[in-house]
Every structure is written in structure tokens, then in C-alpha cells.
């Protein structure tokens, strides 16, 4: 099939068609001076003409000189909020011991505007939560129903390093439809790649035109060129080995002197998946519930066993997060846990840069000379 092109109206139809098929469409929109993910009623809510400027510990919206809707790098949220919600009831139980699992009312989501980095993050969550001996049923159900409209990135940010993680700037595999946004003298339009028959079926409902000669090539070139404009790069080193050898490095103390152990990095990370549980009862104590909620390895009680926590120092907690993300994740789940989105750098209040810390460790595993 010829490559098709959607214009801005066609993008509006895409949102409407997904909603008509019963999907809750989640996509980027502007709120509270940030580009956040929210449920969209229409494509009008997309952040047209908004870009972002990022730096370590810094995230600002800026006006673009075009009306691009996907012309921004990662915001403070990621898609995990929808696939692996921050708070979820596990079961209810009464005094007579009838355990009632929480109802399986998991919504059907369509994600609009998933970058290569974030699509790779979903693939990682698939392995972590969906592929073990005891998969997370809620995650699996949401994931099975998911419709993904990915966006190839042509505008990497100052903190992006997906190229060095092998996750972008081109998105995929794993999408139903993939868009490359073009906003230039020839108008505002989206070159569409079809990933699945489900995607093709949906595309069939939209007003499209065949791509003009050279249009697809130009779009591809744009994406390829983006690979060379990453603001950051993860060092090309055997990080799992370097990190394992650096377990006792004084470098951790040095990072800890800057780390507030606030856990922002774990909240914004698209693959940080840890959870804890909360038990609640009503006033009589007859009715009890167990809830699952997001947790962070930076919390002091994260490693609590009777008698105390295993990781009390800030350096040990930073080491845990960093070593898991870039090192032991490979052993546990067969890949790195980092996709190069740069969120943890932007949202770290003291601007700790994961690529910089990795470079130091890779150079001097035993510690700086």
C-alpha cells in the first residue's frame, strides 16, 4: 500500500474515530505550564505550537514558530500512569474471609503521540510486568486492549539520548500507526506508517491522501537527522560490568552529596515500576481492603525488614536506583531499564545527570582517581 498522509483535519478524525471505537484517547496537552498526558476529547487539545526547553533540573514551555502538535520532548509524565496506575485496589475482604478481587474494569486506551523512547519503555514494562511466571493481570489486560499511535521524533531535546540507547528517534516496533509530523511551507501534515492491521483498519476511516513524491523520503531524512542532534549520550561501555565493579566506589558518596533522595527520578521514569501495598479497614474493622500504590527505592522504608532498613544511606539508595536501571535490569529482565528519554535529568531538583554519572563510572569503575 502507498504511504498515506493525514492533514490536521485528518488528525482530528483520528481522535474522533478512536473515541467512536470506544477508546479513551490519551495524549499530550498543556496544563500548569507543562505538557502533560491527559484524556483528550478532541485533537484541539493537543499542544499546537508549544515546544519545551529542558536542562538539568529545568523544564520550560516555549512558543514555537509553527503549529506543530508533537514538537516537544518528554514531559513529566509517562504512559506508565495509565498502564500501571499509581494506585489500584487489589482486593476486599470481610471478617468471614471472602476475598473479592478488585473488579476487572480496566479501560481501553489509545495512546496518541508515543515517542520511540516511550514505546521502548512500554516494551520494557511488558517484560517486567507481563512476561514473568506471575504476570500482573491488570497490566496485561490494559496492554492487550491498547492502541498505539506513535510519533517519530524530529525534535530531540537537550536532555535526550535515545539514539545511544537504541530506542529512537524512529519509533517502533510496537505501534499500530506511526506518524511523522511535518510543518513547513508545504503545510502541516503527518506521514503515516501502518504497523498493524488494526492500524490499517482505523486509517481506512480517515481522510488521507497518498504521499507526494519525495515526501516520505524527506520525512525519513528528518527523523534520521534527529539522531545526530541528541543533547546527551549514554557512554558506549559495558555498564552492567562497570557498575558491578563499582559497588564500593566513592563515587556514590559524591552523588549522594547532591541527591535529595526525593524520588522524582523514579516518578518520572517511564520504566520505574516498583509498588508497595497499603491495608485499610473501615471503622468497625470488619471490612478491609488492600491497595497497591507506586513506591520508590529512594524511600527509606522501601527496604525495611524487621529491625530496620537495608539501605539507610542516601548513597546506597542512589546506587540501587542507578545500578538497577543500567546494570542489574539486564540480568533480571534482559535489557537496560533506561530508554534515554532524559526525564530524570530534567526533573531532578539538583540536576543530577544519569549520562554524566554513567560516564564517570565507566571511566573509573573503582572511583575517581
Amino acid at each position: 500500500m502507498e504511504t498515506q498522509v493525514l492533514d490536521r483535519t485528518g488528525l482530528g478524525q483520528l481522535v474522533d474515530a478512536l473515541r467512536d471505537e470506544g477508546y479513551r484517547v490519551i495524549g499530550p496537552t498543556v496544563r500548569d505550564n507543562a505538557i502533560v498526558l491527559a484524556e483528550l476529547d478532541s485533537a484541539e487539545q493537543l499542544p499546537a505550537g508549544w515546544g519545551v526547553t529542558t536542562a538539568p533540573g529545568r523544564y520550560r514551555l516555549r512558543r514555537r514558530d509553527d503549529e506543530a502538535v508533537f514538537g516537544h520532548s518528554s514531559g513529566p509524565q509517562s504512559w506508565k500512569s495509565y498502564l500501571h496506575p499509581p494506585r489500584r485496589k487489589l482486593f476486599e475482604v470481610n471478617r468471614t474471609g471472602e476475598f473479592t478481587p478488585a473488579p476487572e474494569d480496566d479501560p481501553r486506551y489509545a495512546f496518541l503521540g508515543v515517542r520511540g523512547c516511550d514505546l521502548a519503555a512500554i516494551a520494557i514494562l511488558d517484560r517486567v510486568l507481563g512476561a514473568g511466571a506471575h504476570p500482573d493481570g491488570s497490566y496485561q489486560r490494559r496492554r492487550r486492549e491498547l492502541f498505539v499511535v506513535a510519533v517519530n521524533c524530529t525534535e530531540p531535546g537537550e536532555l535526550c539520548f535515545c539514539t545511544s540507547m537504541g530506542t529512537g528517534p524512529a519509533a517502533g516496533p510496537g505501534y499500530d500507526l506511526g506518524l511523522t509530523e511535518r510543518a513547513d511551507g508545504d503545510g502541516h501534515r503527518f506521514v503515516v506508517d501502518v504497523g498493524t492491521s488494526k492500524g490499517a483498519q482505523l486509517l481506512g476511516k480517515l481522510t488521507v491522501r497518498p504521499a507526494a513524491e519525495g515526501e516520505v523520503r524527506e520525512a525519513r531524512e528528518d527523523v534520521a537527522a534527529a539522531a545526530g542532534r541528541m543533547g546527551r549520550a549514554m557512554p558506549e561501555a559495558d555498564l552492567p560490568t562497570a557498575i558491578r565493579e563499582a559497588r564500593e566506589s566513592p563515587q556514590w558518596e559524591e552523588v549522594a552529596s547532591r541527591c535529595l533522595t526525593c524520588g522524582n527520578c523514579t516518578m518520572v521514569c517511564p520504566t520505574c515500576f516498583c509498588t508497595t501495598t497499603e491495608d485499610v479497614t473501615d471503622l468497625t474493622g470488619d471490612h478491609a481492603e488492600r491497595w497497591q500504590r507506586s513506591a520508590s527505592c529512594f524511600e527509606l522504608d522501601f527496604s525495611y525488614v524487621h529491625g530496620g532498613s537495608v539501605r539507610t544511606s542516601g548513597s546506597s539508595r542512589y546506587r540501587q536506583w542507578f545500578s538497577h536501571k543500567l546494570g542489574t535490569w539486564h540480568e533480571q529482565f534482559g535489557s537496560s531499564g533506561c530508554v534515554g528519554c532524559g526525564r530524570c535529568i530534567a526533573w531532578c531538583p539538583t540536576g543530577i545527570d544519569i549520562t554524566e554519572e554513567a560516564a564517570k563510572l565507566a571511566e573509573y569503575p573503582g572511583g575517581t582517581p
Binding site: V93, E98, H134, R247, C297
Partner: protein
Amino acid sequence: MTDPMVPVPYRVAGRVVETADSVSLRLEPRGKPLPEAKLGQFMMLYCHGVGEVAISVSGPGPTHTIRAVGAVSRALHDLTPGTLVGVRGPFGTSWDIEKATGNDVVIVAGGAGLCPLRPVLADVLDHRGDYGRVVVVAGARTPEDFLFPDELASWAGRHDVELLRTIDRPAPGWTGPVGFVTEPLAGLALDPERTRAFLCGPEPMMRACAEILLAKEMSAQHIRVSLERAMKCGIGLCGHCQLGPLLVCRDGPVVDYTVAGPLLAVKEL
């Protein structure tokens, strides 16, 4: 398919007070039982409205021995016969005691570490002819803190079990050795080639014992240890029980010392 995060109702069918702060609860399924645990696996026990903890299986039934050390274990400890307990599991790896067939078995337990090892010894004694020497080194803080005192007495009376008991501090009426389990262990003459060791107790104890066994030229892969970490899910989804590359609930709790040794040597890992 049943949700592994939702407990199955059991009730307390028997409660035996072991020490001042420990009880053994024999549980009985109210309906369809969970699969039987392999030796060394653990279950997640839920106390109504209070919470859930990982507890090893210490005997048939299943039986769980619980020391009251935190909010949930205290609530479980105080449960009376007939009360409801939610159970999930069994989870984790086993001691792989079968692989020790034809060899000498050394069991070293510190305090509550005896709980997951009691079924190991019971199994070894059920198949006594399959093994060579059977040595049990058990330590407790005081003579009153030994779990399963009746069984200890019966093992002490057997000619085919070498039982060495030690307490941390001198106590009136105690004529046995005083000190950590490392001391009687260090004094043992073992055949390093044909010895298989099973250790459970506080981490410093397991490390010290493993080092003694390594000094006796045992291979680290013949030393099995049972690890403890915070656990919320028990099935590798919550991230709490990490120890380096291990998800202790999934890759443990029982691992070889080849794996555990380098990890336990790092502070706050």
C-alpha cells in the same frame, strides 16, 4: 485464572507456643488448597486489615512459625485457633535437598533460621539411608529461645544425627557451649568433597558460617543459604526484595553461596 495477588482463605487449625515471642500456626484451607510448598519456599500470610508478610514453611499442614517482631507478625502471632488467615504462594526457590543425596548434610540455623530448615531435616530423616552424616548446628540467644524444643530433644537422642546446640550468653543450668554457631561449626571435621551445607539465620551469621566452610575447602556451590528481604508481592513485580541482580522472591530465597557471597559482602546492597 486466579489472581496471584489475592489471598486464599485458610484458618488457624492449631497454635503451639514455641518461645516467649514465637508460635507455630498450623493452617487449614477453607476451600481449595494452594499447591504444596517445596522445601525452602515461602508463603505470603495476610492478617485481616493489618497486612501481609513473607513466612517460610516450618512444617506440614502447612505450619508457619512466626516470631512477633513487627506489626503484622505480632498480629499473626496473636491469632487464635479458628481465625482467618489469607495465604498466597508458594513462592521462591527451594533448598534442592534431593541434590544432596549420597552426601553428608550440615544444617546450620541461627534463631528463627531453624524454621525453614526443620522440614529439611525432617525430609532427610525420612530418607535417612540416602545420606551420610547428618549434622545440625543450632544457635539461640538463651536456652529458652530454642524453637521446637521437643524435636531438638528427639534429634539429640538419635545416634544418626549429630546435634550441636549453642547459646549466645551464659545461662543458669546450661552446660553446653556458649557462643555463636560459628564455634561448633569451626570445630567440625568435615569431608569437604562430600558435604552439602544449608544455612539460615541472620546475614552476618550466614556469612561467617560460609567463610568457615569455605576455609574447610568446601565449594561455594555446595553451600545453600536462605535470604531475607522486604517483600510486598512475592512474585517479582514490586521491586522491594532486590539484592544486586536478584529478585529474592523469584531468584531466592534459597541461593548458592557462589551467588550470595559477593552480594552479602557489600554493605547496604
